[in-house]
Amino acid sequence: MAAVEIDSLSHAFGQGDMLRTVLQNISLRIDSGEVVLLTGPSGCGKTTLLTLIGALRTVQQGRVNVLGERLDGAGRRRRQQVRRRIGMIFQGHNLLRCLTAEQNVQMGADLLPGLGYRARRDEARHWLRSVGLEDQMGKLPHDLSGGQKQRVAIARALAAHPQLLLADEPTAALDGATGREVVELLRRLAREQDCAVLIVTHDPRILDVADRILRMEDGSLLPPVE
């Protein structure tokens, strides 16, 4: 089954004279369990595409199907429900400053329906162990390094058992070696879950982790290079 299926998607910002088309006629497909990288020059519309797939924006034109749900024409509430099944990792880690690593991850696990508090807490601990942070569970984001914070963010995204993981430049704030480690961890864990992954990146050092690379320019996808 396809995790993401997009057909002739276009998107524009602004109105009237200020109207700027950012995405033009994009079609793509990501299968479940596939790890896909999206690259392209700054401003070509990568983030915009990601927010549309992530059900964070309303679709203006074209068809978008994510995890079997149609997003074109979906209302606020519907999109919120689709988002529960999508894990997101941001450029800045976006952890909650007032929560410990464990509590941050549990904010992800809390989205799981029908699980008791203990089960959700154990889930959070399990994912923190998986990203190698079993010794840092009680620490606040403030006391963690950049790489550790990004790993907490990965654990948080995975704790809700997503079937699709979206990451926007997850290595931008990390040095080369740490960035590579983090992305490899991300790929390994997603594989184990049979979860599709879409990573937006500029970082040439991590291109080889992908099953497939999509290149974008000026709002359009370039044909795949073999």
């Binding site: 983030t47 990601l50 927010t51 992530g54 964070l56 924006r57 919120q80 429900q81 689709v82 988002r83 529960r84 099944r85 999508i86 997101m88 941001f90 450029q91 976006n94 909650l96 400053r97 007032c98 929560l99 509590q103 549990q106 904010m107 992800g108 809390d110 989205l111 008791g116 508090y117 203990r118 606040l140 948080r156 809700a160 926007d168």
Partner: protein
């Protein structure tokens, strides 16, 4: 119950508050301040109204007759004494006692200046007082021209209590008649009266010769044990002509309080003071919650991007407001208790904590925090999950 416990989530509201202790303290200080202000203003208001009925509370009566033309303790009109005697025809009435009640001009024996004092004239043989100590003292009033002076009266009446305790013979004039102080009592001042004196019916009438003989201002009625005062009130009101009003003792007390509450702006002024406290509290809590939401806007947006419901996030803000209300109320309550104790000690005004006021102020604080939370929530709508990547 178990399900609720199992279903619980990370206590985000509590952590948002407690991990920023300085902001929390500022908020709590603001709420407590508002609460203390409300306790103070409402306490003074109720205290002053209570003080206005110290004299009314003295009597051991079940029902009270007054003239419908009486407006308050400082403007008591007379009615025929016969009416009081007529009530004895009712099977439930056990005994009656007439009381004369009015303001008189007291001459300060030191400065020779006149000042209005509230005088009560009653039958010293059957004084109808609740306090047995007071009833014993009335024995001396059987001699004409003797009075009991309230030692809590304002000092403008002269150093009466001091002189009396020194053993001097304290004499002065009321409306040109000589009177002698034969004892001291402790009643207390009120809005209407800066001082009080007690005397016998006969002396009272000598001191106010213009009053018609057969007329009294207050009629006290004692009922047989087991009778229902409300029923007797209705019966007597039917039987007696319109020139008297029949009240229960509580009704008599309310009659006086109502005059000061609705006939003057005293209540309004103190209520306004309490309202100011409310507004100040609202502003402070709103500021704190609004800044809190603004500061964490990217985090709220992240939670929304993860799929948390907007209503869940609104709930976080509401709970923050609730915790602030509870945590701010406790110190306000304790400080209020301390303040009342201090005021009682310093002014002899009967202010104290009571359940109604504790609940009123608690409710006001809760409303204040919830209102602020609601306003601060509007900021949450600005959290756009699409803008966080």
């Amino acid at each position: 119950m178990r399900n609720l416990w199992q279903g619980r989530k990370i206590p985000l509201s509590w952590l948002l508050l407690s991990r920023q202790p300085v902001r929390l303290l500022v908020a709590l200080a603001g709420i407590s301040f508002a609460g203390i202000l409300m306790f103070m203003q409402l306490g003074f208001r109720d205290g002053l109204f209570d003080a206005s009925v110290t004299v009314h509370r003295l009597f051991d009566a079940d029902l009270v007759l007054i003239s419908p033309r009486s407006a308050s303790s400082i403007r008591m009109a007379g009615f025929p004494r016969r009416r009081l005697v007529q009530t004895l025809a009712d099977p439930d009435v056990e005994g009656v006692s007439p009381v004369h009640w009015g303001l008189m001009l007291w001459r300060n024996p030191e400065t020779r200046l006149n000042r209005a004092i509230l005088a009560l004239g009653f039958n010293p043989d059957d004084p109808f007082f609740l306090d047995p100590g007071l009833s014993q003292k009335t024995e001396v009033l059987k001699q004409k021209g003797r009075i009991l002076f309230d030692q809590l009266s304002r000092p403008e009446f002269g150093p009466i209590a001091d002189w009396y305790r020194e053993g001097r013979t304290v004499e002065t004039e009321i409306a040109g008649n000589r009177i002698r102080v034969e004892g001291l009592v402790s009643l207390g001042t009120s809005f209407g009266a800066d001082g009080n004196l007690l005397t016998s019916t006969e002396t009272f009438l000598d001191l106010s010769p213009q009053k018609p003989r057969g007329s009294i201002e207050v009629g006290l009625i004692r009922l047989r044990p087991g009778s229902d005062p409300q029923q007797v009130v209705e019966r007597l009101q039917l039987r007696l002509p319109d020139d008297v009003k029949v009240l229960t003792k509580q009704g008599f007390i309310e009659f006086e309080k109502n005059y000061w509450k609705s006939g003057t702006s005293i209540g309004f002024i103190f209520t306004l003071g309490a309202a100011m406290g409310f507004v100040v509290g609202c502003v402070i809590v709103y500021q704190v919650l609004y800044t809190d939401v603004s500061d964490h806007l990217p985090e709220y947006a992240t939670l929304m991007a993860m799929g948390h419901r907007l209503s869940h996030l609104l709930g976080v803000v509401v709970r923050e407001g609730f915790y602030l209300a509870v945590m701010g109320y406790v110190p306000a309550y304790l400080a209020g208790q301390g303040l009342y104790w201090f005021v009682r000690d310093a002014t002899s005004l009967p202010v104290g904590m009571n359940a109604t006021r504790a609940l009123t102020v608690g409710g006001m604080i809760l409303v204040m925090c919830m209102l602020s939370a609601l306003l601060a929530m509007r900021r949450l709508v600005d959290a756009d999950p699409a803008e966080i990547f």
